[in-house]
């Protein structure tokens, strides 16, 4: 089952579709008043932003500002943490992601994720990429799918002769591209990337960034990054988060500003954003 099937069909909306409506349909995620609590304490609260199709949306901000938490609420990875509670609205193509009829497993099949540290399975390169398709039982032409996914992740030429070798024999950068290939192999609609380059050297980082820009034509990408230059280089829109310390000393993440990346980095409307991106804070 591909994401295209659940997406509202543009044709069926009718001739009345105004440019405004069309713009609405480009929205992949619509967040409104999203808060995530760990136990009693809010980790992040009141987040509202739209993620658009075929764009890279970057979430930036200092440590503890809840950007990873927001990212993980987009594919219900937070469900795995018992004490995490999500409130507010997360719409995915107009469907409430936390609605009662939604199966988190199905959500994760359509919304792929790449993690901070490369986490290939201790299996062969081939088995890593084939993992998702095998589980989804869409493995008609597994060899072709594995090759195609590795090509999309620009890893094929480096691993074509050693597909049966352990993924752990690859370098860190290659492992991360393998993880991207693995995520792509389930043909998701969105890729969530949680600081995908933080464990990599500059050259490997550059390759991943190039890859992201290339993948943008097929996927919508949300990336969490510590690296502001990276956000400026690759993203179309940027959300800046910061930490709000309460009187009791409890730290809660809040969204400060969300806008076109160009605007955030050249002419932010909030002075806090300016302080952060110019390095005066954070």
């Amino acid at each position: 089952m591909t994401a295209a099937e659940t997406r509202p069909d543009p044709e069926s909306v009718g001739a009345a579709a105004t440019p405004q409506r069309q713009g609405r349909e480009e929205v992949v995620f619509h967040l409104d008043g999203l808060s995530v609590h760990y136990g009693e304490f809010p980790a992040v609260k009141g987040v509202g932003l739209d993620v658009r199709r075929n764009e890279i949306t970057a979430l930036i901000g200092p440590s503890g500002c809840g950007k990873s938490t927001v990212l993980r609420s987009l594919n219900r990875m937070n469900d795995l943490i018992e004490i995490a509670k999500v409130s507010g609205l997360v719409e995915y193509h107009g469907v409430d992601l936390y609605g009662p009829a939604v199966d988190p497993v199905e959500v994760r099949r359509q919304i792929g994720m790449v993690f901070q540290k490369p986490n290939p399975f201790p299996k062969s390169i081939y088995d890593n990429v084939a993992f998702g398709p095998r589980i989804a039982k869409t493995d008609d032409d597994l060899d072709g799918l594995v090759e195609q996914s590795l090509r999309r992740a620009v890893l094929w030429d480096e691993v074509r002769d050693k597909l049966d070798q352990s993924a752990y024999a690859l370098s860190g950068g290659q492992q991360q591209r393998l993880c991207i290939a693995r995520a792509i192999a389930t043909s998701p609609d969105v890729l969530l990337m949680d600081e995908p380059c933080s464990a990599l050297d500059p050259i490997a980082t550059l390759r991943i960034e190039e890859l992201m820009v290339e993948l943008k034509s097929d996927y919508s990408i949300v990336i969490v990054t510590h690296n502001m230059q990276q956000a400026a280089r690759v993203s179309d829109r940027t959300a800046f988060f910061t930490v709000d310390e309460s009187v009791t000393g409890h730290r809660t993440g809040i969204l400060v500003e969300f806008d076109q990346t160009g605007k955030i980095f050249t002419n932010p409307s909030n002075p806090k954003t300016e302080d952060y991106i110019t390095g005066r804070f954070g």
Binding site: L80, V105, E106, R109, F115, F121, K123, I135
Partner: protein, 323 residues
């Protein structure tokens, strides 16, 4: 070493060709602390050496006495109608097969229960449930085997084995199930540790690809933990083979046993046979070769567990997914 003072010293030393420490640089340290460190090191080495020495001495004693037995016994007695050491019938088949039957029954009980409990605790239970259950499992691992011996004889035998089959009150099945119950917490605890050692990042990767919990357990966690799981099972088998009390009490045949393959009948394992021989030193000494046979059986036991460990090690090396 950029300070002018030390440079001047090193130049002076180089000129003399000496390597001694100059008076102005204190590098000798406190001699008392160095001596203390040497003493600690010596003590730790002695502890390690003693362990190895005791082990080697035991094996040598075993081999020596076993050799005495092998050279003196008539070989036809090693392959006779049963294990009656005081009457000079040393049919090793009886006790080796008895051991294998009982350990086999035990593992049929302990493997699914132990692995199931471990998978539940590690992968399914909420942190709260786990906090309560894990210590209980570990306490169960410490139940004295005498208690389980009585349990096997007075409860498992009449309520399980004899209800399902027509069996002797003393039977190997009840003893095997009893040993299985005894071994289950051990298998569960060690397996659970192995499962918990699998990095969370691998589970996240699996869930992130749309795998369900069961798929994640089967395709990611279990393969990654296989070396630990095999270790747990080998530990379990070794314990089952080495278990004495439950078998001695519930399997009957305290003095000896006829060759018996039917688990519903009384039987004798290697350890139980040794116990029976060792009850009362006069009896052990009483008949010629019975005493030496103890060591022979002990050596056989030792060899069996050693072979098991080697096989397990080989297996793990072949199937292991290293993370």
């Amino acid at each position: 070493m950029g300070r002018p003072v030390s440079r001047r010293h090193s130049i002076a030393e180089a000129a003399h060709g000496g390597r001694g420490l100059s008076a102005s640089v204190m590098l000798a340290g406190d001699p008392r602390r160095r001596r203390k460190e040497a003493r600690v090191r010596g003590f730790l080495f002695a502890a390690a050496a003693a362990t190895v020495l005791v082990g080697v001495a035991i094996v040598l004693a075993l081999i020596g006495e076993a050799w005495n037995f092998v050279t003196q016994v008539e070989f036809s007695k090693l392959w006779s109608l049963g294990w009656f050491p005081r009457r000079d019938f040393f049919d090793v088949r009886t006790i080796v097969l008895g051991t294998i039957i009982i350990a086999g029954i035990a593992m049929v009980v302990a493997t699914p229960l132990g692995l199931g409990a471990a998978i539940y605790l590690s992968e399914y239970a909420s942190p709260r449930t786990r906090r309560i259950l894990k210590p209980i499992v570990e306490i169960l691992a410490g139940i004295p085997s005498v208690v389980l011996g009585y349990f096997a004889l007075t409860w498992i035998s009449p309520n399980v084995v004899q209800r399902l089959f027509t069996a002797n009150t003393f039977n190997m099945a009840a003893a095997g199930i009893g040993v299985g119950v005894l071994v289950t917490p051990l298998v569960a605890a060690v397996t659970e540790d192995a499962l918990r050692a699998v990095p969370v990042s691998l589970r996240e990767a699996s869930y992130g690809l749309g795998a369900r919990r069961g798929e994640t357990v089967r395709k990611v966690v279990l393969p990654a933990a296989v070396s630990g799981i095999v270790a747990a099972l080998i530990l379990g088998v070794s314990r089952a083979i080495g278990e004495t009390m439950v078998v001695a009490m519930a399997a009957g045949a305290t003095g000896g046993s006829l060759l018996q393959l039917n688990p519903l009948e009384p039987g004798q394992t290697m350890t139980a046979a040794m116990t029976a021989l060792a009850i009362g030193s006069d009896q052990v000494a009483g008949s010629g070769l019975a005493f030496q046979s103890l060591f022979f059986v002990g050596l056989l036991l030792f060899a069996m567990t050693l072979i098991l460990n080697v096989i397990g090690d080989r297996f793990v090396r072949r199937v292991r997914e290293k993370y």
